[in-house]
Amino acid sequence: MPVLTIRDALNQALREEMLRDESVFLLGEDIGLYDGSFKVTRGLYKEFGERRVLDTPIAEEVIVGTAIGAAMAGLRPVAEMMTINFILVAIDQVVNAAAHIHYMFGGGIAVPMVIRAPGGGGHQLGAQHSHSHENWFAHVPGLKVVAPGTPADAKGMLKAAIRDDNPVIFIENEGTYAVKGEVPEGEHLTPLDRNEVKREGHDLTICAHSRMLVVAMDAARELEQEGISAEVVDMRALRPLDMAPALASVRKTGHAITLEEGWRSFGIGSEIASRIYEEAFDDLDAPVARIGSAEVPAPYNKRLEKITFPGKADVIVTARALLGRN
């Protein structure tokens, strides 16, 4: 199987879907002539032209609105937000319009669109370019929210998102574009509503998505060496949130850590922990431990930034504490 980066896996998914379905088009800031800020759309403008790879002004509200209105007239737009932080400029379009249109118009029309948005910090980009806001969107009925952390899932979920008839928020991470892995060629679809165990273990369960999945896998490998067997559950399907693999895992291990790159309060981990308490309370040997970023606007200074975002060491320390092995 070919080995690709997440960046190239995403590019392949876009290209294949554009070849497969003429109603698929891309729009966003500098995705065309410039080849994309993170080069995810590299080469597509040259291949498909400006009609299908539409460079827009820096105007997020009209980018998302254009995607909605095109979807309501039968196209399948894929809008790129340069970073998820910029989507907040367009949050009215995403929440009040895209998410609600199908329901508030009595099911009379669908909004089949994808918004791709990379989040995440660690590149000294400061408070307005470094955050992870997937929980904002995972809160909203009518949206689907996915956050893959492997190249195969990146391709499979993006293809599935483009074919889905609902608005899908597709979370990427600037820190994972270069992550490599095997990617099936051609038709490879990953369901948007299935989470799965990415690494088996029996001592504790780590629930993570996107870049934190990579961190969790690293941590699990290191924990193995000190005799702790960690099971890693990929929470790539955030809304609808598929809890089945996480619950099955917790029932087996009795210990759970939630790991996310965003702030803990009212976060993804809060939701996962609540569901575990509701569904598997009696199977727990200890309270669920939540790991997230420090509750500060991301600082620019490298030293401060390093202690702001969670990393492998945080997972290892938390795992030991949870199992009482200090």
Partner: protein, 336 residues
Amino acid sequence: MKLDQRETVRRKNLLADRETLLGLYREMLLIRRFEEKTAQMYQMARIGGFCHLNIGEEAAIVGTISSLRPEDYVYSNYREHGHALAKGVDPKAVMAELYGKETGTSKGRGGSMHLFSAEHRFHGGYAIVGEALPIAVGTGYAIRYREKPEVVMSIFGDGATNIGAFHESLNVAKLWKLPIVFVCINNLYGMGTAVNRASAVTEIWKKACAYDMTGERVDGMDVLKVREVAERLVEQARTEHEPSLLECVTYRYKGHSMSDPDTYRQKDEIKEWQGRDAILALGNRLKALKMLTDADIERIDQEVTAQVEEAVTFAEESPEPDPKDLYRNVYVEERR
């Protein structure tokens, strides 16, 4: 032919077309009677939520929307009962939606501010000021993408022209040459704030200049004038892919919504505008042209009133949504 000559011909054609003129008259009267009934039913608590009436704005609404073809799209705001009716949506379905019934345009899930009909390409009422303009842009893009001879009419109030989305939308509509007519129903007040207290430029049509776009201002109390200009701008959008901004200066006789005590406007001002009533004016004009008699006017009134009564009966007798369907349509379930 020069533009002003074309206008003259168009006006002559319009004035000679009795069927069209009577159609405009009937449509305006239907909206008037429908909204009067709506107010009554709201006061009787048959209709809930917020409820914004079109009374006074009928000429602006009918003059613009009647210039469209069935395959053209309308995007509207929350004061849109009349917009839906003018685009051909069944009054029964509109009234049923106001009642929150399963037979309503949006199955009772939308209400007064969220009417919708895919069949009529009435692409919805949106209740966030200015929100639908970017969405109309997207439909305009889809029309160009598919090379269809269709037009989008995006209708909003004067208040929407102060919001960022308005400017973003006009910019790209012109930049991408989209077949969109932006229609500003300028009723002189954004809720309780007069246009000169909210906008640095009180002649809204001038805002088109910033985007090198055609901008026009028309007397929104004269349905024929509105129709003439709208026809031309719709044609320009359809054949030349040139978007435009049309400002219809009009007035809402009632408050912003049913719960507005209307303390910010002078009684004399309201009276003055009512003295220019578009429906009365067209009726008188058609009488002068010998196209209508008092008896005709009486008959048309009885007919539209009966239509409205029928809509109320339909709404009253329609079923409520079933509670077990609360979660239906949060997502589209069938995959393509």
